[in-house]
């Protein structure tokens, strides 16, 4: 077992552990932080696969941006976990049996001798090989169709998010920029001339 294989198993074990803790930890903030750990160790696995750019993007985008937002939301919501878990233990045995059966089946199929030996030894790239350049080239040539469609998918997500959250209620206080620009000083300040009558002195 060389170092690379050792690293792979280490990172994989870490990913599985973190993923398990995401769904089992009682505190939602802990769960979110374990998800960050899962992303980190997955990024490590991608690094082993020589997908450096993707690994960095995963950390930057998911850990840096998405998970921070996620944590904000989790901290702002008052989630009562006890109420969410009502009925969990009632169905747990069924789910556990099903999961174990599925796991055993998967191990039997994927671990059997007939499946082994399908690993292809991929040739290593030279040191000056640029993963980023290659991805950029492929995205805009071979995968242009999928790339464009993924952009449309994001557009749909934007439209859906706005359509589902934008509410135009009456009686809300908001700024109207047009009116703000057109406002003149004499609309705001009214100079009233008062007769200058001396007040009776009350300080005495």
């Amino acid at each position: 077992m060389n170092l690379e294989t050792l690293m792979f198993y280490l990172l994989s074990a870490l990913t599985v552990f973190a993923a398990l803790r995401v769904i089992t930890s009682r505190n939602p903030v802990h769960a979110a932080l374990f998800l960050v750990l899962a992303f980190f160790s997955t990024a490590g696995i991608w690094m082993l696969l020589e997908a450096e750019f993707l690994a960095l993007t995963l950390v930057l985008v998911y850990v840096g941006a998405v998970m921070v937002l996620f944590l904000f939301v989790v901290m702002m919501l008052d989630i009562n976990l006890e109420r969410l878990r009502v009925g969990f233990w009632k169905w747990f045995p069924f789910a556990a049996i099903l999961a174990v059966v599925l796991l055993v089946e998967m191990v039997m199929v994927l671990g059997s001798s007939s499946t082994a030996g399908t690993n292809v030894n991929v040739a290593k790239h030279a040191a000056d090989y640029s993963n980023t350049k290659e991805l950029g080239r492929l995205i805009y040539t071979e995968y242009i169709y999928a790339f464009e469609l993924a952009a449309v998918l994001l557009l749909v997500a934007i439209i859906a998010a706005i359509a589902l959250t934008l509410r135009q209620r009456s009686g809300t206080k908001h700024q109207v920029q047009g009116d703000q620009i057109q406002v003149r000083s004499k609309d705001r300040v009214r100079i009233v001339s008062m007769p200058s009558v001396a007040r009776p002195d009350t300080r005495k």
Binding site: L110, T115, L149, L155, A160, A163, L164
Partner: protein, 483 residues
């Protein structure tokens, strides 16, 4: 030849994307609450799409974008039918949505994006474009189900649809990644070639296949992956259910054909066994559960599960006959479900949803013509001759008997008989019961005309099914590479 002219097979998709973006912007300047300008623009876009598809027709199979996109007769036929059904949905649902304040620009734009997703699915010959098309369609649909924000039922339906849809996508992706692992390619035709030449590991292939079939069954709503269907059908606005129940089924048909037949034809011995279980369970659960329903939309949901079971029978019998019959079945089913949901939108009015069985009581006294159209649609769903539903069931049964599975055909007929009960109950309610309300039914001229066309088409296609059957068989024969 310039680069732009090489894109000819994909002109329809490009046009739709451009128009959807234009409509999104134009809609901002439409002050009218009725949104007539946006509506007209959407309908014109659909007409334009139909013209483009006709004009860019070419007899062969054209691949584009490094085999990610395929244009053949089957895709042209299914795309044309999708345009027609989306156009019909908008006509049916206009006054229904206006009464509920849902007839917004976003609704129409999301409909167009859902259509784009369906077109991508129909023309996909690469796992990547298949998946992105499916997600594009599903994402638009999730949002459309949730559009009725103040309704708790609609929000619950959207939540269930979203979570189970995401789970199904996960299953599908996992299966696809296994197939990729076994064959080393995502291109459907290359996958087929790799399997044929014995390069791929058979164990890994079947392992991936199980997940792919489970994902497909989720999307089709076949038992035991059907739990979302009744809740979504009941909770979502009827116009959105109409879209889920008609046009998306056409896209799902293409998806099944491209994935299972074009890509995994060599594994048919494995997947046909899985489809038998799905089909028989769907027919049993769908037809028996539908009897107990008092909500018409929920009943149609269980009926759709049963119909999907029947459709899968056509797929598993294989060959030009089987695939042609299942294509015919899905087209007829889309037409029938458009009519049945269209009827709900026509009987509903502001503040009242005609989604209970009681809403149909005494319909004959209130509007004899509508009752007659409903009678035709229900007869067709039940498979009573001479309606189109009969011929659709007949051709699927013929295909399955020709493969020697007589026992499955007998089961299918028995469950269809059970299913006839709840369709005929609607007919009984309409003709032999006293109406519960005497509120006059106000029918818009356009949707009135459309429901007449819809009902009579079901009858006409039942009397003369030959040409549509020929089109389906030809589309399948010319498009699928049957090994």
């Amino acid at each position: 030849m310039s680069y732009f002219s090489t894109l000819a097979p994909a002109y329809a998709e490009i046009f739709l994307l451009v128009m959807a973006c234009i409509i999104l912007i134009v809609d901002l300047f439409v002050a009218d609450r009725q949104k007539s300008a946006t509506y007209l623009l959407v309908q014109l876009t659909l007409v334009g799409l139909a013209l483009i598809t006709v004009y860019t027709y070419q007899p062969g199979i054209a691949h584009l974008f490094k085999n990610m996109f395929v244009d053949d007769l089957m895709s042209d036929v299914l795309k044309m039918l999708s345009y027609i059904s989306v156009s019909m949905i908008l006509v049916y649902s206009r006054s229904y949505l206006l009464a509920r304040g849902l007839f917004t620009g976003e609704f129409m734009v999301l409909t167009l994006f859902a259509l784009l997703g369906m077109m991508v699915m129909i023309s996909a010959s690469h796992f990547l474009s298949m998946y992105i098309g499916l997600e594009l369609m599903s994402l638009s649909l999730y949002a459309m189900v949730a559009l009725q924000r103040d309704s708790a039922v609609a929000t619950e339906a959207a939540m269930k649809y979203f979570i189970l849809g995401a789970l199904a996508s996960g299953l599908l992706l996992y299966g696809m990644s296994m197939l990729y692992g076994a064959t080393g390619t995502l291109d459907v035709n290359a996958v087929a070639a790799a399997i044929k030449h014995g390069v791929a590991n058979p164990n890994l292939l079947v392992f991936g296949l199980v997940f792919v079939v489970a994902g497909l069954a989720f999307k089709l709503g076949a038992v035991p992956f059907h739990m979302w269907v009744p809740d979504v059908y009941q909770g979502a606005p009827t116009s959105v259910v109409m879209l889920i129940g008609s046009a998306t089924k056409l896209a799902a048909f293409a998806f099944v054909m491209r994935l299972l037949v074009d890509g995994l034809q060599q594994l048919m011995i494995h997947w046909s066994g899985m489809l038998v279980i799905l089909a028989v369970l769907s027919m049993a659960v769908g037809n028996i559960s539908a009897i107990a329903q008092t909500n018409f939309k929920r009943m149609l949901a269980y009926s759709s599960i049963a119909h999907m079971g029947f459709f899968l029978l056509g797929v598993l019998s294989g060959g030009i006959d089987g695939y042609g019959a299942s294509m015919f079945y899905i087209v007829i089913y889309a037409l029938m479900s458009l009519g049945a949901f269209g009827m709900i939108t026509m009987l509903s009015r502001e503040g009242y949803e005609a989604d209970t069985l009681d809403a149909f009581k005494g319909l004959n006294q209130r509007s004899p013509w509508l009752a007659f159209m409903m009678l035709l649609l229900m007869f067709s769903m039940a498979g009573v001759p001479p309606t189109a539903g009969f011929y659709a069931k007949f051709s699927v049964l013929e295909a399955i008997i020709n493969t020697g599975h007589i026992e499955i055909a007998i089961i299918a007929v028995l469950f269809s008989l059970i299913g006839a009960y709840y369709y005929l109950r609607i007919v009984k309610l309409m003709y032999f019961d006293a109406p519960e309300s005497h509120e006059p039914i106000r029918i818009q001229p356009d949707s009135g005309l459309l429901i007449s066309f819809n009902g009579l088409a079901v009858l006409a296609l039942g009397i003369m099914p030959g040409w549509l059957m020929t089109v389906c068989a030809m589309a399948v024969q010319k498009s699928l590479l049957l090994h």
